[in-house]
């Protein structure tokens, strides 16, 4: 099914409106329901110093200190994961490609375990996400370096090197976790490894926002190139694409997006895999449309999952990675049943 492409401006306005609405609704939902009007007042108070006008201070704390940063991080991470997934699926021409395929999760996880085990986390709340960010970037950089053959980056090499290094890092992570049992606090770490937004805060948002917003904006301009890349390196080159420049650029953007999202919310599975596929199945594979729509859809999806995880067993929380997997796994299986014959993303 194809819908006529709306103009860029209408799309941008509709996207911002959708995201703002979803963020507002998600912020209002929780163990304490907070009306949208009050949320508006609280946000205005913090941005424009307007008076709070009878909004309870506890609501202010809940919205401003707890829910809003968490919702915004979820929004950004969801966008980053699904756009990262779309980039990898186009780059690697593989329907199963997702942001954590190229060792990003392994690198981030291992780095997170290392900083926890060595006690560096005591230095500040942002040490864990920073460490994860660095580990993720290092791992994906290493994989790109290992896959390079004669100035080219064959997709098969990237996938194989990613899977191999990912397994190695997972093994090391598990090893350190088991050896360190009792020696350091692992429960926080385990939640994070599953993918959780419980730690999200304004500092987290400030840390990851630039690494998500800038690559997202850049990717919006790559839709055409991503389409042509699906034809394979040689044919893309014949069609005038500077493949050996575009490929590292796409890998870099996807790597930074994945690293930033892992720093923000740990290893949240399935979003980067299923959101681009869902968009592709409904709107078609044209990346010029797919990238912006997947960004919005990913943000909405992760916010919705996290809100569910917060609310269903309140006050206990289900880590968002579990909720996305609960939704994602059945969808993924359905996809497998219906993707016969089509081997490229």
């Amino acid at each position: 099914m194809k819908i006529p492409a709306p103009t860029a401006l209408t799309m941008a306005l509709a996207s911002v409106a959708t995201l703002a609405l979803v963020a507002a609704v998600a912020t209002s939902v929780g163990s304490v329901p907070i009306p949208l009007r009050s949320i508006q007042a609280i946000v205005a108070h913090h941005l424009f110093r307007t008076p709070l006008d009878g909004v309870p201070a506890s609501w202010d704390a809940i919205v401003w200190q707890v829910r809003l940063p968490r919702v915004l991080v979820a929004l950004l991470v969801g966008m980053a994961l699904s756009v990262g997934g779309a980039l990898y699926q186009s780059l690697l021409r593989n329907p199963l490609a997702e942001p954590f395929l190229l060792g990003v999760s392994g690198g981030a996880g291992f780095a997170a375990v290392l900083v926890t085990a060595t006690g560096l986390t005591a230095l500040g709340s942002q040490v864990l996400p920073l460490g994860a960010f660095a580990g993720a970037l290092a791992a994906s950089g290493l994989i790109v370096a290992l896959s390079r053959v004669g100035g080219r980056l064959p997709a098969a090499n990237l996938i194989l090197a990613g899977v191999a290094l990912g397994s190695l890092l997972s093994a090391l992570t598990a090893f350190v976790l088991i050896r360190g049992q009792g020696a350091f606090e692992t429960s926080d770490l385990l939640g994070w490894l599953m993918g959780s937004l419980a730690r999200a805060s304004w500092p987290t948002l400030r840390l990851i926002a630039p690494y998500i917003v800038v690559p997202l904006a850049a990717t919006l301009f790559l839709g055409r190139a991503m389409n042509v890349m699906l034809l394979g390196d040689a044919q893309a080159q014949h069609l005038g694409l500077a493949v050996e420049r575009i490929k590292p650029l796409m890998l870099g953007l996807a790597g930074v997006l994945a690293a930033a999202s892992v720093a923000g919310a740990g290893v949240v599975g399935f979003v980067g895999l299923i959101v681009p596929h869902a968009v592709r199945l409904t709107l078609g594979p044209d990346n010029r449309l797919l990238v912006p729509v997947a960004a919005v859809a990913g943000g909405v999806f992760l916010v919705a999952c996290d809100t569910l995880g917060r609310v269903v067993f309140a006050p206990a929380e289900v880590p968002v990675g579990i909720v996305t997997a609960l939704f994602g796994a059945p969808f993924f299986l359905w996809l497998l049943r219906h993707q016969r014959g089509a081997t490229t993303a």
């Binding site: 389409n227 500077a242 490229t344």
Partner: protein, 675 residues
């Protein structure tokens, strides 16, 4: 846009391996250059250098004087489009969206298409005649449609130079012709320069202005195809003599030379050149290979100069056995000349008897001028069973073969009636009917039956080779012997037919193997099965061809793996008839399949064939086009058993009788055409 590509002293290769050495080439706008050569001779490497995908070790490639390597990718893609041998098309995209990707070098970052882009996309789709595919998604396309899509993508680039690597490998005959014509048209109208790596020598001969022959990385020769596609050069290039050469395009070269591919439009002899474009006079007129064309080529030239050494060199000892003692004489050119002159003088406006006139001239060439003997007609019907009949490829069970033979002998079947009406000599030859005939034939006269059973039906070709090579040779020998016997009984012309439940399946497999076409393109309803069964039949045939991979250049291998006993016997009869200057009237699809095999064994026997009628079986047209034959009648006959040949026989005899018995203007004292 006219473009000029020049290659100077090009050497290239891969780490540790030299591939191309010192290549000089030039192509300019409006010209199609075919690159030929054996596998591994460097054709694709050459294209990769031309597409700036591979840096040359030495030498240069320039487009309009500027070196290729210096151009940016977008600049390059606007000048030069590439259709690779292998490509992937991402699922979910429609054909129109894919073809629009051809506009990539013109589009901005947001990739919005302008009116000019849309016009280019529509133009490319229309030029290839695939505009109807516009909204189809990739996963719904056939292999040929995918190839047309990739070609359209390249045309949408509006390049000055088009590089094609085996552009027609997935295409059926119709799409091959259509896409090559579209490319020819663009070359002529828009000045597109084309370099195409081709494996099909027939395509190269028909569509290329010049061909370059590569051998182990060196340019062996470069020039017009009519000069280069000779047996000697092709042997030097490929290491074998292409005995399978298309009979319709094969013609005489210089005396003493092995022979060359016939190229329509003709060209003056001139030294082969490697640079620059041939003078306008050499340019080939655009041409579709229709059946009209095939017949209007001068028949006597077909296959000439292919005597002795040429065709057989590539064959096996088995071929030598099968062809032992067989000497097929050339058409009698003198008799044809005399006949043609006589047709001008007969008491009628010249040409007013239409095909009957050309038919009489052809018959004169075949028989050496003795048209009287054509009034003595014989029909040979070869009958055999097919293991593949057990796979449900026919509307009738296998027992019907034997039962029909009984009907032939009792005088009840169509061929019995027609042969009787013609006073013709009919023989039914059992080459391998499954069940023993004796019980079946109790009480009926067996005077017309010839018992020459090679084995009890062929094996199931979907599982194993249908016949052993020695069984093929034996069946061919049966066919030769029966034709010789008919000649001994005084036959001057022989109509051939067959009976065998399941034999359109075998025939379609033979035709597909020899023509290299897709099974579906040559598969039809046979005795009358529905569309679903036709599709299943085509699939069985395609699977059998994949399973056995018969060598298309070796007709005996094809007959053994996917043929049948009566088809092999028909092949033998055709060979023997040609050797005896006896015109052979083919019936329908199955006899055409046998004729393809016979012509592949001995190209000259094509000159002694007459196609009686046009069968509704789809493969028949393709087979006749390859044979260069135009059927006399189109009556929708699909019975077999030589009935079509028998219906056409009175027409042939009429042509002969008119030629012999009509008076000339002079004899009748009638004034000729006024001056």
């Amino acid at each position: 846009m006219s473009v000029r590509l020049a290659v100077r002293g090009l050497s290239a290769g891969y780490p540790g391996r030299d591939v191309l050495r010192d290549i000089d080439l030039e192509v300019e706008g409006g010209e199609i250059l075919g690159v030929l050569g054996a596998n591994g001779s460097g054709k694709t490497t050459l294209l990769r250098c031309l597409a700036a995908q591979l840096a040359p070790r030495a030498g240069s490639v320039t487009v309009d004087g500027s070196p290729l390597r210096g151009m940016g990718p977008r600049q390059l893609a606007r000048r030069l489009a590439v259709v690779p041998q292998q490509y992937e098309l991402p699922a979910g995209f429609t054909v129109a969206e894919l073809v629009e990707m051809g506009r990539n070098p013109y589009l901005g970052h947001l990739g919005r298409a302008t009116a000019a882009d849309e016009a280019a996309v529509e133009g490319a789709l229309a030029a290839l005649g695939v505009a109807a595919l516009r909204r189809r998604q990739v996963q719904e396309l056939s292999g040929g449609e995918r190839q047309m899509t990739v070609l359209a993508m390249a045309l949408a680039q509006q390049p000055g130079l088009l590089l094609l690597d085996e552009p027609t490998s997935h295409l059926d005959f119709r799409h091959q012709t259509r896409s090559m014509e579209a490319i020819r048209d663009l070359a002529d109208r828009e000045g597109l320069a084309v370099i195409a790596v081709l494996h099909d020598l027939g395509l190269a001969a028909r569509h290329c202005d010049r061909v370059a022959l590569l051998r182990s990385g060196e340019l062996l020769a470069c020039g017009p195809p009519e000069q280069l596609l000779t047996a000697a050069l092709l042997r030097a290039c490929y290491g074998v003599t292409p005995a399978f050469l298309d009979a319709a395009v094969f013609t005489a070269a210089e005396p003493g030379e092995g022979g060359g591919l016939r190229v329509r439009g003709g060209a003056p002899a001139a030294a082969a050149r490697c640079g620059g474009r041939p003078p306008a006079a050499w340019r080939r007129p655009r041409h579709s290979l229709s059946r009209e064309d095939a017949i209007t080529t001068e028949r006597p030239q077909v296959g000439r100069a292919r005597d002795g050494r040429g065709p057989r060199a590539a064959f096996t000892d088995m071929a030598a056995t099968v062809l032992a003692g067989l000497e097929i004489p050339a058409i009698d050119a003198e008799a044809r000349r005399i006949a043609r002159r006589r047709q001008q003088q007969l008491l009628k406006p010249p040409g007013s008897l239409g095909r009957l006139e050309t038919l009489a001239v052809e018959l004169a060439g075949m028989t050496g001028g003795d048209l009287d003997r054509l009034q003595r007609v014989a029909f040979l019907v070869f009958a055999a069973d097919h293991g593949v009949a057990a796979r449900g490829v026919s509307a009738y069970p296998a027992e019907v073969t034997g039962q029909m033979v009984r009907s032939f002998l009792r005088g009840w079947a169509a061929i019995s009636v027609l042969a009787r009406a013609d006073g013709a000599d009919l023989r039914v030859v059992d080459v391998g009917i499954g069940p023993p005939l004796d019980a079946l034939l109790a009480g009926c006269s067996t005077e017309m039956l010839v018992r020459a059973r090679v084995r009890s039906g062929s094996r199931d070709l979907t599982r194993e080779p249908a016949l052993r090579p020695d069984e093929v040779a034996e069946a061919i020998a049966v066919g030769r012997a029966q034709l010789a016997a008919a000649a001994g009984r005084g036959a001057g012309i022989v109509g051939l037919g067959e009976m065998g439940i399941g034999n359109t399946t075998a025939a379609a497999a033979v035709v597909a193997a020899i023509l290299g076409s897709e099974a579906a393109a040559v598969t039809g309803p046979g005795t009358g099965i529905d569309a679903a069964k036709v599709a299943a039949k085509a699939e069985l045939i395609a699977a059998a061809l994949r399973l056995h991979a018969p060598d298309p250049t070796d007709p005996l291998d094809v007959l053994a793996k996917v043929g049948g006993l009566e088809i092999a016997a028909l092949t033998g009869a055709i060979l023997e008839g040609a050797a005896r200057r006896i015109p052979i009237v083919l019936d329908g699809f199955i006899t055409a399949a046998a004729a393809l095999a016979a012509v592949a064994l001995a190209p000259r026997c094509a000159d002694y064939l007459i196609a009686s009628h046009r069968s509704p079986e789809p493969g028949h047209d393709l087979a006749l086009a390859r044979l260069g034959l135009r059927p006399l009648l189109d009556l929708g006959l699909r019975l077999g058993e030589a009935s079509g040949a028998a219906v056409a026989m009175p027409v042939i005899r009429a042509a002969a009788r008119l030629h012999v018995e009509m008076a000339t203007f002079e004899q009748a004292g009638v004034s000729g055409v006024s001056p």
